[in-house]
Each structure stands twice: as structure tokens, then as C-alpha cells.
């Protein structure tokens, strides 16, 4: 097979080819590495990618096959990892100076499961520092460009993972989603990105940003690639008290198990059933989204309608408060989660400090970027004496409302269709000076995060000037498999024409 066609294989095809000996893991890795050498300088998707390291890991898979060992469902398949997910043998910096050179002593549970399934870790991808951002411009190391249009942002915070896959450097990647950080970059880079239900994937080894919201999510070129990754990394974990079983995910290691949803079906889900009713918050979309996005939304609605899905208009009132709610809760948790970076046990330590106070304030002052400081300050304030109830307390109350509103709506419809972002990818630098503007662009992804429900972003069309536009499906509890089924159907009937039009 040519190197191009090797890179075009789906994850399951690639793994099957490796297991059957049609291709070696080294060949597969080499195909991606060679391509990466050409395109990466113009993209900047990775914070860490070592050719030798990747080839060595691939070589080990090939040797295991040669010894006759059974290989897992990701045998020899390279997977890029967002750099806020702990990997032994590689740095894990969260794109922050404060973790420069940090090498975890344990793999994240999701990474361990990837390795057990035979995957080859393919470097660490760039992100907004600690996941705080929507453009990957907040990395302490470098920006990442959108491979589809290099003057545009790839989205964030999992922008490096999205750009790595969209530029063909890796077939799939892990990201993390706190308020949209998997879905928004997936939308900006023309990929499928799944935010699993909260707790579906262990957070053990995911460096915490906002613990009640964080979840690791797969990003790939198709719903089926994303599904395969989800099936590998999901499941309850004794190292994370908030992880949980659900759906039919309780058969670890079984490649046919289907976390979050209906019973095992065929690998090709192109004939999977579509929902009978989807909710559409049309007024919210018309008010909040740009014309390109509204148009693609209407086209997507049309596709579902044409395939027998009833579309029912819904009102989401509480969800419109999601941005303010999210920033209070996420930043409160972040301010506490980031207290451990104090220069004492790992990571950056200010050299000039002569007193303990200086050690703390300088290490953190020099080690954190501006956006992280902004979040820490806001989070410190909303938890402080005298303000706690009015800010953090109120945000929790509104969060409850958002959750119960979505619960109520989803008891009447099987899913909610809405855009992932209000606009197509914006130019680099456009919003980096206006944090509030940046925050507001997360409005459509945040409600699912606050409610903890699964949501998937999928490529649905293009703007007038050819930029990708992603649509999003929210689902009920344990509905990941259904969401991916629906996206799979959509893909199979629209593949090749770039969307629903």
C-alpha cells in the first residue's frame, strides 16, 4: 500500500491490516511520521513528537505480533494525545511553563487502555494552557494553525489534536472537553469529536481544569473511528470516583462492547436507525449564530427531515445562561485545582525566590500565562467569603436549572440538534485580546458540559468561503452509541460533498 493509502485507512482497517500482517505497525507509523515532517512546520500541532520514540513503540507491536501474541483492536495504530493527558516516557506539560519538563510517573487510565489495545502513542498535542481557551492561542509554547486554512485558529483547547488529525499527521487523537474543547476544534477542523457523558472515561491522569466538567473525548475523521476509540478508553475506573459504568460498557477489553447505548451492532452503522424526533432550539440559533452557520444548520435539519426524522422546535431558556454559569463554576474549580503548582515537588520553580512567599508568588506568576491567571483570579473571587453564595452558589443553582431543563426536553425528544459554534473558524489573533468575546463563542457547547450529557460534533457543511461548519447533537444519558449511529448515517449519505448541501 502506498503511504497515502495507509494514512487513509480507518482505525479498524489499519488495526486489522496490522493484525493480519498486511502491513507493519512501523510502516503505518512511518507513513504518518513522513507526512508529519512535511506539514507540521506550517501547523504546529505538536508539543512533543519524537520519530524514534514512535517507531520504537511501533516496532514493539510488530515484535509482539511476530511472537504470536494477540493484539488489540488498535493494533499498531498511531494515536495522538493531548498534552494534558498523562503519558509515562513523554512530557505532559498542559502547554504551560509551570509544567515544563514534567514527566508523569503513571499513565492516564485512558492512555493505559490505548496501550493495552495496541495503539502507538503518537506524540503530545498542543492546547490552550491547561485547557483554558477556544483557539489554542493560549499555549505557552506556540500557536497551532488550522490545517484547512492556516490563517485561522484550529479551535481549542484541543486544537493540537484537531490539527494533527485534520492535517493527516495522525489518524485520530484524544482530546479533553471541559466546555467544548473537543467539539469546537473538531468543528473548526472538519472532524468528528465526541464529548462522552461525564464519567464515561476515567479522569485519572487527565490534568484537572474543572473536575466536575472535564472528560476525555476522542477526535477522528469518522463516527466509526471515534466509536472505536471511545470503546477502548471508556469504562469505570477504581482510580476515579466520578467514573462510572453505563450503557453496556461493562465488558472491558471486549471490542464489540458498546459503551453508552444500544446493544452491539454491525461495524458499519450506515444502516443504523435514526431518531424519530430531534429537538431544535431554532430561536436561540437564529439569535446567536452567524449566517453561514444558520444556513448549514437549516440544511442539516433538511437532511434529517428528508430521512424521516421529525424536528420539533424547543425553547432553551436556562441554557442561555450557560456561559456565565460555566465560567463561574469552571474557574472556581480551576483556581483550586491549580493550587498544586507551587514549585515545591515538580515543574517550574522561580529561581529568584528567597522566601516561601516569593517562591509561591513568583513561581506561579512566572509559570502561568495570562489567561490562566485571569481564570484563577476570577475563581478565587467567586469562592471568597462574602461572594460565594452570590456567585458560586448562584451558578450552581442555575446549573441545576440547565440540567433539569435539558433533562425535561430530552424526555420528549431523542436528541437536540444545534450548531457546535456560532461562526466558522475565526482568524488567528481576532479574539485573543478580548476574553469575554472568546468565552461567548462557547455558548452552544457549554449546556451539555454543565448537564454532563453526551454530545457530538460532526462536519455538516461549509461557509461561503469554504470553511468547515460543524453541527452538534446532544443526547440523553448513556446515548453515545446512538449519537454516533446518527452521525454515521449522516456521513454515509453526505460523504464526498463536504456536508448536507
Amino acid at each position: 500500500m502506498s503511504k497515502t493509502s495507509l494514512r487513509d485507512l480507518s482505525l479498524s482497517e489499519a488495526a486489522l491490516a496490522v493484525r493480519n500482517g498486511e502491513v507493519t505497525s512501523v510502516d503505518l507509523a512511518d507513513a504518518f511520521l513522513s507526512h508529519s515532517e512535511q506539514v507540521e512546520p506550517g501547523i504546529g500541532a505538536f508539543l512533543h513528537l519524537e520519530r524514534d520514540e514512535v517507531l520504537q513503540a511501533a516496532e514493539e507491536i510488530d515484535q509482539r505480533r511476530a511472537r504470536g501474541e494477540a493484539l488489540g483492536e488498535l493494533a499498531g495504530v498511531p494515536i495522538a494525545i493531548k498534552d494534558n493527558i498523562a503519558t509515562t516516557g513523554m512530557p505532559t506539560t498542559c502547554a504551560s511553563r509551570i509544567l515544563e519538563g514534567h514527566r508523569p510517573v503513571r499513565d492516564a487510565t485512558a492512555v493505559r487502555k490505548l496501550r493495552e489495545a495496541g495503539a502507538v502513542l503518537f506524540g503530545k498535542t498542543n492546547l490552550d494552557e491547561f485547557g483554558m481557551g477556544s483557539s489554542t492561542e493560549n499555549s505557552a509554547y506556540h500557536v497551532t494553525r488550522n490545517p484547512l486554512r492556516v490563517d485561522r485558529v484550529p479551535g481549542g483547547s484541543s486544537g493540537g489534536s484537531a490539527a494533527a488529525v485534520a492535517s493527516g499527521q495522525a489518524p485520530a487523537a484524544l482530546g479533553s472537553d471541559t466546555g467544548g474543547s473537543v467539539r469546537q476544534p473538531a468543528a473548526f477542523c472538519g472532524l468528528v469529536g465526541l464529548k462522552p457523558q461525564y464519567g464515561r472515561v476515567s479522569r485519572s491522569g487527565l490534568v484537572a481544569f474543572a473536575s466536575s466538567l472535564d472528560v476525555i473525548g476522542p477526535m477522528g475523521r469518522s463516527a466509526e473511528d471515534v466509536r472505536l476509540l471511545l470503546n477502548v478508553i471508556s469504562g469505570p475506573d477504581s482510580l476515579d470516583s466520578t467514573s462510572r459504568a453505563g450503557g453496556s460498557s461493562s465488558r472491558p477489553g471486549d471490542s464489540t462492547s458498546r459503551p453508552g447505548g444500544s446493544p452491539t451492532g454491525p461495524e458499519n452503522r450506515a444502516d443504523a436507525p435514526l431518531p424519530s424526533v430531534l429537538g431544535i432550539p431554532r430561536r436561540w440559533i437564529e439569535r446567536g449564530a452567524g449566517s453561514d452557520v444558520v444556513r448549514v444548520f437549516e440544511e442539516t435539519c433538511e437532511w434529517f427531515r428528508a430521512h424521516g426524522v421529525e424536528l420539533r422546535e424547543i425553547e432553551l431558556e436556562a441554557a442561555e445562561q450557560a456561559v456565565a454559569t460555566y465560567y463561574v463554576i469552571a474557574d472556581a474549580e480551576a483556581s483550586s485545582n491549580l493550587s498544586r503548582y507551587d514549585g515545591v515537588r515538580f515543574g517550574y520553580r522561580a529561581q529568584s525566590a528567597e522566601t516561601l512567599e516569593e517562591l509561591y508568588t513568583r513561581t506561579r506568576g512566572e509559570g502561568f500565562g495570562l489567561e490562566v491567571k485571569r481564570r484563577i483570579l476570577l475563581g478565587t473571587f467567586v469562592l471568597s467569603a462574602g461572594y460565594y453564595d452570590a456567585y458560586y452558589g448562584q451558578a450552581q443553582r442555575v446549573r441545576s436549572r440547565i440540567r433539569s431543563e435539558l433533562e425535561t426536553v430530552l424526555s420528549g425528544v431523542e436528541g437536540i440538534l444545534l450548531p457546535t459554534t456560532p461562526t466558522p473558524p475565526f482568524p488567528l489573533g481576532q479574539k485573543s485580546d478580548d476574553p469575554l468575546e472568546m468565552y461567548l463563542s462557547d455558548l452552544y457547547t457549554l449546556p451539555a458540559s454543565l448537564a454532563g450529557i453526551p454530545a457530538v460534533s460532526f462536519p455538516a457543511g461549509q461557509s461561503e468561503d469554504g470553511l468547515p461548519v460543524g453541527m452538534q447533537l446532544y443526547g440523553r444519558d448513556d446515548s453515545e452509541q446512538d449519537l454516533l449511529d446518527w452521525v454515521s448515517r449522516f456521513e454515509s449519505s453526505t460523504r464526498g460533498n463536504g456536508g448536507a448541501s
Binding site: G101, Q321, E357, R362, L377, F381, A385, Q394
Partner: protein, 140 residues
Amino acid sequence: MITPDQVRQWARLARLDLPDPELERLQGDLDKILEFVRALQDVPVESGSVPDSVSESERGNHPLPSVERPDEVAPPLSREVALEEARSTSDGHFAVPAVVESEAQYERRTGSAGGDSNENTVLREDSDSREPGSSGDSNL
């Protein structure tokens, strides 16, 4: 309007050194963000206590009964690994600039009084008004 002193106070609580230009910029940003966030306070909600993870609403994320692990010991890290990334160590310890009394005084040493008596125990003051159930509540 947020004042520079407020930002300084939060930075102090969060142990963040903020050079003046940063402080000025963050003050402006935070002012805008907080104004936006304040709108939350007009959202009609069920009054009463703050829903935290104990409340019905969040229980959806937390299956009952609670998640607990058996009381079993696993091997800890070797000390070499534990100290590996520390930039300063001393005789098997993590090392920090000496905690001098003026600093130590206002830091509460949580319930650690009565540790090894051969150590120079430094105590942290506790005057937190939000602490419920400390006998102080009714001892005033």
C-alpha cells in the same frame, strides 16, 4: 467597578505575582467578565441552600451508594521517584526557603499541633468566619 486593590487581594489569596501592567490589564478584563457574570444573579432559581454535589440535582452524576475503595495498601513510590522532579531537596525531604516566623504565623497549621515535639512546630492562625461547627461559633 473592580478596584486594583481587589485584584491584588485575589492575587494574594491565589499566590500570584502580578506585575503592574498585567494587573492593569486583568483588572479591565475581570471587570467586564464580572459584569457579564453578574447577570446570573437575576436568574430566577429555587431559593434556599446552594446545590452542591449533595443535592438531588447533581446526584445524576453520582450514583449511590458512594464510591469507596477497600482499605488496602499498595506499594508507594520510591523516594527517588517522589523527589525526582523537585528543584530543591535536602536529606530526603522537599526543601523550601525557610518558613520564618512572620510568615508561618498567619498560616494555619491545620490540626497539626502536637506533632513531633522535637520539631519547631509553626502554627497557622485560624480566623475563618465561614467555618461552621467550630466551637467558636457559639463560643463568642
